[in-house]
Amino acid sequence: MINEQNIKTYICEQLAPDIDPATLPADIDLLSTGIIDSLSLVRLVVWVEEEYDIPMGDIEIAPEDFNSVEMINAFIERHTISDDARTKDVNHENEVELISKS
């Protein structure tokens, strides 16, 4: 929810200043309604990368990932959570390895 609010604020302040963030539904299709276009999409992707420290160069981005505030939020959660999960998995593997060695 906190991310969603943050995303809405960025879109409404930087890309579509005529829209009040409080009125922007999280599930509205941002591209088909012209709230963002292909060029502001690039700005949005760069912002998400910097704001949430997500290495976009290593990730395959589907156009749908940035369709709505909800989808962007899910994308952010997926890439921040999956990194944690990956670290946990690696730790778990190390543990298993240590146990089997001992």
Partner: protein, 501 residues
Amino acid sequence: MKLALLLNSLNDSAIHFPNNVAIITDTTTWNYKQLWSRVAQFESALAEIALPTHVAVAVTAHKTVDTLALMLALGKQGHTPLAVSPTLGPMVKPMMYGTAGVYCELAAESYLDQPVVNLIVPGKLQTDIVASAYSDNTCPLMLTTSGSTGIPKVVKLRAEGVSSFFNWGAGYFQLTRDSRVLSYAPLNFDLSLLEIWTPLAKGATVILADTARATQTDYLQALIRDGRPDLIQAVPMFYSLLCPASDAHDSAMSETRHVVFTGDTTPQELRERVATRFPQATFHNIYGCTETNDSFAYSANALEIIRHERLPLGRPIKGTAYRIVTDDGVELAGTGEGELHTSTPFLAHGYTDPKLTAKVFYTHSGRYRAYYRTGDRVARDERGQLTLVGRNDFIVKVRGVRTNLLDIEQVLAKMPTVKNAVVIPANDEISGVVLHAVIEPMQGQTLDGLAMRMFCAQHLPQTSIPRHFHLRENPLPTTSTGKSDRKTIALSIQLQRSEPA
């Protein structure tokens, strides 16, 4: 694509040059044998849809090899594909497909590398008269162009015209089996005829740019560096992204032989940057539209292309005739200005709606040939050279799509909260033309930017939705005759944009 020349040529390439590369994407390289067998796989997948014989089928134009294969498979089975933008609004489809006699809309996908045909809009048989239009082989492909009512017009291309265009394009740009052509435009644009279908008909290689990354400078530079295309055709926006003013690494790309500017006016300063990047290339300013395809070409070397403040239209392409018609409706004999009417060997049949065709296509009685009123205003100088002056009306190009400003204003004015709406085009370094809507509310009403965008999305193509909405509280300035004072409004936007953030 229902065109014997193309289908036979692809079959020949698959048999005699199976390992020649047909298409390069970011992830995969397809040789002619693989491409042709993909077409066959899509033919089998189509069997599950059970199409009636010889119908028009809309194809969601995702820019993929699978979409191309589906369009070819449809053509092989005698159907005429209509390439439609993946962002085409669901509200406009029923009316558009109804008048065009389109049976259904399909989209091509792969699942575990197997072709899948998805039914996007279910099948509906149109009236016999409309449907029978596709029973012969005279219309290989249909494309859309912006319509004055917000519903795209469907252009029926002519088989003979498309075949002639392939031969002209291959000859003019010296395409051979060794050539590599960049495809940057969306698949549903007429530019794809030169970028995709011509090279495939001639056994050359197409480099497909990824739509999702089409606005990233790094991606585009790598695409040209690694793909080494002989021919690049694109709108000015592509070149601004490829050659940004701030780019200190001016590495020359010397393998590209032909650089084509099209779709819009390319500013002199941008041409200078492009010429530095491609010092060995021949540059072309190509003028045309979906209804006529390319009709004029101005070709020059790097030194010559940067010399002009405005690029000339150049010479009519071989077989093209033109007329300049003045505001009085008479043909211009010498120097002066007027509307350009063209007659090219590539001329389309017209639109699927005969009433629309009758408005802009006509046969000149004295010359026994069909002309198309372009709506573009041109000037002819003492040397007979033509330059584009602008649109005859309020039509601008937004991201390559012809857009009528008055249509957008009319849609906005239908909102109960809106008293007056003026749409102003502004030039943007990267995007080309950006639309600003300036809105005056009905007394006592509050304006809501989100509601306006949603209203526009329901009634207009995506490119017609203004990027910026300026919601005013006071009446908009008017001229002495009571019309909206566009110049003053445009100036106020310009001043607002130049203010420090």
